[in-house]
Amino acid sequence: MTLAQTSLLLVYASLIALAIAMIAFATVYANTRTKVLVGSATKPQSQPVRSRAVNIGYSVSWLALALLGAALVTRGLAVMRAPWGNMYEFALSGAFAGLAAFLVLSLKRNPDWLAVWVVVPVFALVGLAVTVLYTEAGPLVPALNSAWLIVHVSAAIVAFGAFTVAAGASIACLVIEWMRKRASDAPWLATAPTESVLDRFTYRLTAFGFPIWTFAVIAGAIWAENAWGRYWGWDPKETWALISWVAYAAYLHARVTAGWRPNRTMIIGLVGYATLLFNFFGVNILIPGLHSYAGI
């Protein structure tokens, strides 16, 4: 079996793990068990107990992350370069970054509520990668053959990971608040995090991703200046990278604008995430441009 074939097998294995994690995490929205902790003497705190299903979800997600990481490494070894040469490889890397950002956060915080909203897009991304976007392992086209590939693409991928988890938190928040407003008496609502907690969570992740995205755009401009003779040429990919940047800048402004409730702010953040997705799928597939060599 060649390294490239091993890589593909690992991707399929991660897909199975992700599917299990997805189901396990979905049970958060059905789980009813809570435990009352008598902590600091003043007021009793009600804290959800992690069910066995959720624990399985985390274990299987870590496994999926390891499998995806191994798939990327073997793919990189198969072609002897960073695995960022075409859409298949970008999709896998983006999925890896999103899942990694989520799992690293889970070490210190309790993101049970948004787990399913992160794992579903990660699963979809990996699934699309192997079905629609799959490209045979091969060397780079000359335009991509530059050290800037590593700088520019890795920054974009890390930012994408942070934005993915932020989008997951926003969706979790909107769903929970919508249920609350409907006066739903679902027992799990009692233990669901408050709007302000999820709002701060989303903000932190976006504030982390935004400067990295900014850096990715700047690095891309420096590379473009070297490769195409201009740092900015309104190529569709560049235009959409700026649109995402502007949308997330709008999110950061909305958050400090008086009178803007978190739910409206989060919708702007989600619009930003939608522009990221369009930049990746729409621009590469639908619109001809200088970035079209990214290959399907």
Partner: protein, 481 residues
């Protein structure tokens, strides 16, 4: 803030059509093609500026408004920030107990010692400090995290500089395209360019007078697997000199590795084939002998080109399709199946009559106007083949050279844009991650001659480290005997 928010969303929205419709700035031919395919819709879109979005009035209006809004935000905030840097932190609020992290402790140490200890701790950790003694007790105001606002201001000011830098490039910069065949060259003057565009304040006298000659160009393509035909390596070997009379230097030009002459950069952006043809008239006089640029039409370099021979007794034109790896497909006819010249073939149509070149009208050198011409015949040639036509003479397909397309560009504001971008990024990091926080202390004596210390903090960004700052400072105070 609301204005900035709306303008940001408008800017994002306005940029979308620029990515969906072909833009003149990226290539006029795609726009013309679109107008040809959708004449009615195209005319409406053109009137709305959809093919020149980023130069259109409405797009310019949005970003200029945004720029004004940024300036209108930065200037007063800069003034306020400078004021706050010079003035003392705000005095202790009347009721500290309403603030977050409010704590109270009683100690036997004297009030003066407590104040000195607290002051020493704040100084050590670089807090700005103001102590105010009153009859009722001593108030201590400490503030830290001014770098947040400094970063915010730096970020927004840098955005203004970026726009200025882009404007400098747009006004004084130029860019153009030159096609160079192997064995030929050019010197950097306006006549050498196939396409040229420059800013309003550009002066042709400022073109650096370098010379360029292409010796050889090599391209490698993937030969195996699903990516067969993908380009792998392009290398151009060239002779260059910085000005007429200077020594020629041998240089290698590759994608991602441009050449540079006094700020003007030369990029390798494309390549194609230039078949070599020799045309001799029936009397044996050579009418034409040169390589001819054939523009590639697809990924396998099916290329088309024309030869115009205006000096012949009766003007002659040749139209051709060049296929580097020719295969005759049963349905589609002759096509190229691979970009490398594995089995080159040339298909020619010969015309005789009026080329229209004497009319004085500018003509496209890659197109033949055949309205006033008579078709003499069609043939297919392999390298070395000769096509004999009684009216024309002989056309010999000698072989094939390559040509490269060079993008030559000068963008004067680019260093400014780069520096401002880096400044913006640094400003952004400070503006997002440095929390502004205040701590207030009120030190009073109670009736039992003990010292009462009240502490509270405030951080609008919900900075989690504030309580540990307070705890650390109070720890020092507690140790005072």
């Amino acid at each position: 803030m609301r204005t900035a928010l709306i303008l940001l969303l408008l800017l994002a929205l306005a940029a979308i059509p620029g990515s969906l419709f072909p833009q003149r700035s990226a290539g006029v031919s795609a726009v013309n093609q679109y107008l040809e395919d959708n004449p009615n819709l195209g005319r409406v879109l053109d009137a709305l500026g959809m093919f020149d979005v980023f130069g259109s009035i409405w797009f310019t209006a949005i970003y200029l408004l945004l720029l004004i809004s940024v300036i209108g935000c930065v200037v007063p905030r800069l003034r306020a920030h400078l004021d706050s840097l010079r003035s003392a932190p705000p005095p202790v609020p009347a009721d500290l107990s309403r603030l977050a992290d409010y704590q109270q402790l009683t100690t036997k140490a004297s009030a003066a010692d407590v104040v000195t200890t607290a002051e020493a701790w704040f100084r050590k950790h670089h807090w700005r400090l103001a102590t105010k003694a009153a009859k009722s007790g001593t108030g201590l105001s400490a503030e830290k995290g001014y770098a947040r606002e400094t970063g915010n201001l730096l970020f927004h000011a840098s955005l203004i500089v970026i726009v200025v830098g882009v404007a400098v490039g747009a006004l004084w910069g130029y860019r153009g395209q030159v096609l160079v065949r192997e064995g030929t060259g050019f010197s950097n003057t306006l006549v050498a360019y196939d396409e040229f565009s420059a800013g309003r304040l550009f002066d042709a006298k400022n073109l650096p007078p370098f010379g360029f000659e292409l010796e050889d160009f090599e391209a490698e393509f993937e030969r195996e697997g699903t990516q067969k035909g993908s380009p792998r390596q392009f290398t151009a070997s060239a002779l260059t000199r910085s000005e007429p009379g200077a020594n020629w230097q041998r240089e290698t030009l590759e994608v991602n590795h441009p050449l540079e002459f006094s700020g003007t950069k030369i990029f390798l952006t494309g390549h194609g084939y230039a078949p070599v043809l020799t045309v001799t008239d029936p009397a044996g006089h050579v009418q034409f002998s040169d390589s001819v640029i054939f523009l590639p039409r697809d990924g396998n370099f099916t290329s088309i080109g024309v030869v115009k021979i205006p000096d012949a007794p009766q003007q002659v034109g040749l139209e051709g399709i060049f296929l580097p790896s020719a295969v005759v497909d049963e349905e589609r006819g002759p096509i190229s199946v691979f970009p490398a010249p594995d089995s080159p073939a040339l298909f020619l149509v010969a015309w005789q009559g009026d080329l229209g070149v004497d009319s004085g009208e500018p003509q496209n050198v890659y197109q033949l106007r055949t309205e006033d011409m008579k078709r003499l015949g069609v043939t297919s040639l392999l390298p070395g083949d000769v096509w004999s036509l009684p009216q024309l003479g002989h056309v010999r397909f000698e072989g094939v050279d390559r040509f490269i397309s060079l993008q030559i560009a000068h963008e004067p504001g680019r260093q400014l844009v780069l520096v401002a971008s880096i400044a913006a990024l640094i400003g952004l990091l400070f503006g997002l991650f440095v929390p502004r926080r205040r701590i207030w202390l009120k030190v009073t004596n109670d009736t039992q001659k003990k010292t009462v210390v009240e502490v509270a903090g405030l951080s609008r960004q919900g900075y989690a480290g504030l309580s540990s700052d307070i705890a650390e400072m109070l720890g020092e105070v507690r140790r005072v005997k």
